[in-house]
């Protein structure tokens, strides 16, 4: 589904990713771990298309209808419409924009893109409430401006709600677990697991092994200095938890 080839990217002239390769198939969960500053969040932002990051080399190929397209050539909104979803490490507060209105606008963009009929507010409200029930969330998440006055945990749960509503094919979780208490983390992980199926894929970017007890990865990759230096099964995460990163970096 996703094939990242020799990706080089940076911010304001400083290189961060220095030849990253990664291949993800439908139905898989990949964890990306690494010390601070290794480029984990940059990877997520480059895939989503954040304008501050400049790609200097490489490709991010993404399969749509059995054809491979280079995501880097698409605007962020077009990537999202093709099913790429990044759950933000720091979800943004948007004063004045009602959460429910915003989600319906986002959802209808996907409908339009797929040639499906758009939902009116009443239909959408029903659909949204089903998703909220699935994630055990209450009214306050939709009846106020997006993320405004939410706690850290609430913001992250809100990201998962958005993900459930938009039903993406590629879910990129950028340190969704950092700063979460154990209960919030379980709720978030549970939400992600409910959304998983054989047609979509998950990339979990995390600093801590803990989340991976709940979202169990098929592959664990260690990122260091902008490159993946080791890839293995889920046991690698436990080993890192135990021994730290130093033995891998040398």
């Amino acid at each position: 589904m996703l094939e990242i080839k020799n990706l080089h990217a940076g911010i304001e002239g400083t290189p961060i990713l220095k030849g990253l390769n990664l291949s993800v198939n439908a139905g898989e969960v990949h964890a990306i771990m690494g010390p601070n500053g290794s480029g984990k969040s940059t990877l997520a932002k480059v895939v989503a298309g954040h304008p501050q990051y400049a790609v200097t080399e490489g490709q991010v190929l993404y399969e749509v209808n059995f054809k491979k397209i280079n995501l880097l050539e698409l605007e962020p909104e077009d990537r999202a419409r093709e099913g790429v979803f990044m759950a933000f490490q720091y979800p943004v507060e948007i004063p004045g924009v009602n959460a429910s209105m915003f989600l319906r606008a986002a959802f209808n963009e996907i409908c339009k893109h797929q040639g499906a009929e758009e939902m009116d507010p009443i239909e959408f409200d029903e659909y949204l409430r089903k998703k909220m029930k699935l994630l055990d969330m209450d009214e306050k998440f939709i009846n106020r401006p997006v993320n405004v006055d939410f706690s850290g945990g609430e913001k992250k749960r809100n990201e998962i709600l958005q993900m459930a509503v938009l039903n993406p094919r590629l879910m990129v979780l950028d340190e969704t677990d950092s700063g979460l208490d154990i209960d919030s983390m379980r709720i978030v992980a549970d939400g992600v697991n409910k959304l998983r199926n054989k047609n979509n894929a998950v990339i979990v970017i995390t600093h801590y092994q803990r989340l991976l007890n709940y979202i169990v990865p098929d592959f664990v990759h260690i990122l260091h200095d902008g490159k993946i230096i080791k890839s293995q099964g889920k046991e690698l995460a436990l080993e890192v938890e135990d021994k730290g990163y130093d033995w891998l970096i040398k």
């Binding site: 989503a48 298309g49 954040h50 304008p51 501050q52 605007e75 962020p76 909104e77 990537r79 999202a80 419409r81 979803f85 990044m86 933000f88 979800p91 943004v92 948007i94 004063p95 004045g96 924009v97 915003f102 989600l103 606008a105 986002a106 959802f107 963009e109 996907i110 893109h113 401006p145 958005q162 938009l166």
Partner: protein, 438 residues
């Protein structure tokens, strides 16, 4: 360099026999009053950029033109106007400065509510008008107020006697017909709210063409007696080639409430003065404002709140969105007289700059003579937050739509303070061109 006096001559060329017109139109004390204002106007000359009060507003494009006084012509934009009027409200319509009985629907007024032309009121409510004029010495008025008072042969007079309640919004509409060019009109409204009386008044200045060139020189005087309440909205959606200079003077007595909203989206050059005098203890005033500009528009909002008695409250929030190479000015003065202890005053001006060449000059001015007061003020000027735009984009929303959505959020924050649904809807309608252009 052209002398100011010459400039006045040029400006007035179109109606050089104004003194004769006044003599024909008015009699008695009104004639004297108008002539006094005319001679004061002729002496004063126009302010220049060197004048602190007019530092950011170049009057040159306005005063270098020739104007003629409003004329009565058949009005052909009735259909457009009707989409803006709400028949459930009391509508008072002026076309090119002349009251239109046909387009208005002043009827079924509750007890204690008077709505009549100013001409009529000059005789029927002469004492009220003289009492009002006494509060504002001719010598202290700005030059445009003086000009308005010299020109005004007509206007609207609204009075609520003590304890009268009029919940239904009174909508005064000043529409300038697109057929006429280079008209100067001097709309004048007088609103008197009696003891414990309550009313809602909206004034709209509108044109249905952006090609019409004209000059609106408006003056509204408001008096709120003890414990009275007035919700007052001013909407300015003039032609984009028109000039608008308006002054609203508010005089508040003890425990009275004024809720004002200044909404400015039209006009080529706009100056909007709002002067509030809190002349009684415990009076409370709220001045909210929204301006949205594009192209080369200039909107200059000046507010002055004068706390003359203790325990007064004033709250101001003005927000603006500036696109293109447009400019905005906000100047908010707060005076607290030595006797006005326990005054609580708050002022904030927030600007969203969307245009690369847009510019804002914002200036709060506090003059505090009392020592036990709470006064805060602030101003912000910023662009759209890049992270917010990206967040929306990452949720499938196109960048241009994200800009619209965020700007709408910025605006809704202040528009949603308006609880009257009909007024809320009218302002949203006037905002449509702003958002279409984003």
């Amino acid at each position: 360099m052209i002398l100011q006096s010459e400039r006045n001559d040029s400006f007035l060329e179109g109606f050089e026999h104004l003194d004769k017109t006044i003599a024909l139109q008015s009699t008695g004390w009104l004639r004297e009053f108008r002539l006094k204002n005319l001679s004061r106007f002729n002496e004063a000359g126009f302010p220049t950029l060197k004048d602190e009060e007019w530092k950011y507003l170049n009057l040159e494009p306005i005063i270098s033109r020739h104007y003629h006084l409003t004329v009565s012509t058949p009005f052909t934009e009735t259909a457009a106007l009707k989409t803006y009027l709400n028949p459930a409200e009391t509508n008072v319509v002026f076309v090119n400065g002349i009251f239109s009985e046909n387009l208005s629907n002043v009827r079924d007024l509750p007890k204690g509510v008077v709505i009549t032309t100013l001409t009529e009121a000059m005789t029927s409510h002469r004492a009220d008008i003289e009492n009002l004029l006494k509060k504002y010495p001719v010598a202290q008025a700005n030059v445009f107020t003086t000009l308005n008072l010299a020109l005004t042969g007509n206007g609207i007079f609204i009075k609520l006697t003590d304890k009268a309640i009029n919940k239904k919004n009174i909508h005064i509409v000043h529409v300038t017909s697109v057929k006429e060019q280079n008209i100067i009109s001097a709309p004048r409204s007088v609103i008197l709210i009696g003891d414990s009386a309550e009313a809602s008044v909206m004034e709209t200045h509108i044109s249905f063409s952006d090609d019409a060139v004209y000059f609106t020189n408006a003056l509204t005087d408001i008096l709120i007696a003890q414990n009275g309440i007035l919700n007052y909205h001013k909407a300015q959606s003039e032609s984009l080639k028109a000039f608008h200079i308006g002054t609203t003077r508010v005089w508040q007595e003890k425990d009275s409430n004024f809720n004002g909203f200044s909404f400015m989206v039209g006009g080529s050059i706009t100056r909007n003065n709002l002067d509030v005098i809190l002349n009684g203890e415990g009076a409370s005033t709220r001045l909210n404002g929204l301006y949205c500009t594009n192209g080369t528009q200039l909107v200059d909002n000046h507010s002055a709140v004068d706390h003359r008695e203790p325990n007064g409250t004033s709250n101001q929030l003005y927000k603006g969105i500036l696109n293109g190479a447009s400019r905005a000015v906000f100047n908010g003065k707060i005076f607290v007289k030595p006797i006005a202890q326990k005054t609580n005053s708050y002022q904030l001006n927030k600007n969203l700059l969307l245009g690369k060449e847009a510019r804002v000059d914002t200036k709060p001015q506090l003059e505090i003579g009392a020592d036990d007061v709470k006064c805060t003020h602030g101003a912000t000027i910023g662009q759209l937050n890049e992270d917010e735009v990206f967040y929306l984009q990452s949720r499938c929303i196109a960048k241009s739509d994200a800009v619209k959505m965020l700007s709408k959020g910025f605006v809704d924050d202040i528009i949603d303070t308006i609880t009257d649904e009909s007024i809320h809807a009218k302002l949203n309608k006037l905002l449509e061109p702003t958002f279409a252009a984003l």
